[in-house]
Symmetry: C2
Subunit: 182 residues, 2 copies
DNA sequence: AAGACATATATCGAAATGATATATGCCCAA
DNA sequence: TTGGGCATATATCATTTCGATATATGTCTT
């Protein structure tokens, strides 16, 4: 998905500045769609405004930096619905942890153990984040994707805890550890 | 993760051409790490060879295009292990389907239904692919990540089937459908 | 009073994508 | 038998995106 659609989707839930869109696309559930940078968001907003999909107004409060607040137009809403009515692309899943797991035999046991601990922590944080954001919203669609995400991550965590020993045993024994002979 | 590490990881399991690396990074379990294009793989291989992490030899068979086959060197293996010993970055998950789900209320019921059917098909294909590739390999690390991936996708599919009606009910009733009045 | 942090916009080099060009050989169907 | 489609193979390039940095202001803490 491109940044245009992300901006339109976020602005469809309320007006926002480029800065806020960037924060949301990195720190909130919007991060499940695309992760965008300032360098892609600001040009996308300018172009969308020129095309009439967005309008903007400046908010000036003395002392504070001027805020350029964008709002979606009917044309923008049309483009958003039109894009979402096309068949969605395949989900993207990329994991550096899985690379380490696949290559466990090349690594020291301690390295693998740390990578697993690290990932368990990440999954626990993710679960807490999803739980919190689900409780904060009344929006049904957002609640649904939160429920889906929670179930998936919960199962991922469960499997990892139940199968970590098998993975650790593939790694090279650390120097201070005893390992049964072949 | 960058393309360099992907190339080293793949070549650590055996020599290959740029073309084969691209195919593997798109079509096999290597796609869980990064998805790379020709435009990033060829320059990465050239640079790695200059740096002494790879060697190459040309294979010429009459009639066939010349193959530039790359092999990993000890230096390359060192860089690979070194990179994998750092703490892995967070997993990346991006889903256009979840955007559609979140925005279900804006869309027609038929659109949402198709998106769900489509995703169920994708998950089923993915499960079959993981099962097949797990059966084809004897490599324990590869088997472990296949088992992990299978468990995660299986649960994802199960949840989706069990909760699709709730999601569909958020969408706008299609014109030919009856919906109970508010 | 200073330093860290958050808000806010903007730009830019480097990296990566996605598409296209070029070339060869093989296989199958009209 | 020939021609189209497909697979192999390398290479390039415009466009997109990232990640870092610059600039500015205000607040909060120590």
């Amino acid at each position: 998905m491109n940044i245009r659609t992300l901006c339109l989707a976020i602005l469809n839930f309320g007006q926002a500045t480029g800065y806020e869109i960037k924060k949301m696309s990195s720190d909130t559930h919007y991060a499940y769609f695309v992760d965008a940078s300032f360098g892609s968001i600001y040009p996308a907003l300018s172009k969308l405004e020129v095309e009439g999909c967005l309008t903007s107004h400046e908010e000036r409060e003395p002392g504070k930096p001027a805020r350029k607040v964008y709002s979606i137009t009917d044309k923008g809403r049309l483009e958003l619905v039109s894009h979402m009515s096309d068949a969605p692309k395949k989900d993207i899943f990329k994991s550096e942890f899985l690379l380490i797991a696949m290559c466990a035999e090349m690594l020291e046991r301690e390295t693998v153990r740390k990578a697993i601990d690290n990932r368990i922590l990440q999954l626990e944080e993710e679960l807490k984040f999803i739980k919190d954001s689900s409780e904060e919203t009344e929006h049904e669609g957002t609640k649904w994707i939160a429920g889906y995400g929670y179930a998936c991550q919960e199962n991922s965590l469960k499997y990892l805890i139940e199968n970590r020993e098998k993975l650790e045993s593939l790694a090279q024994a650390s120097s201070q550890e005893l390992e049964p002979a072949e």
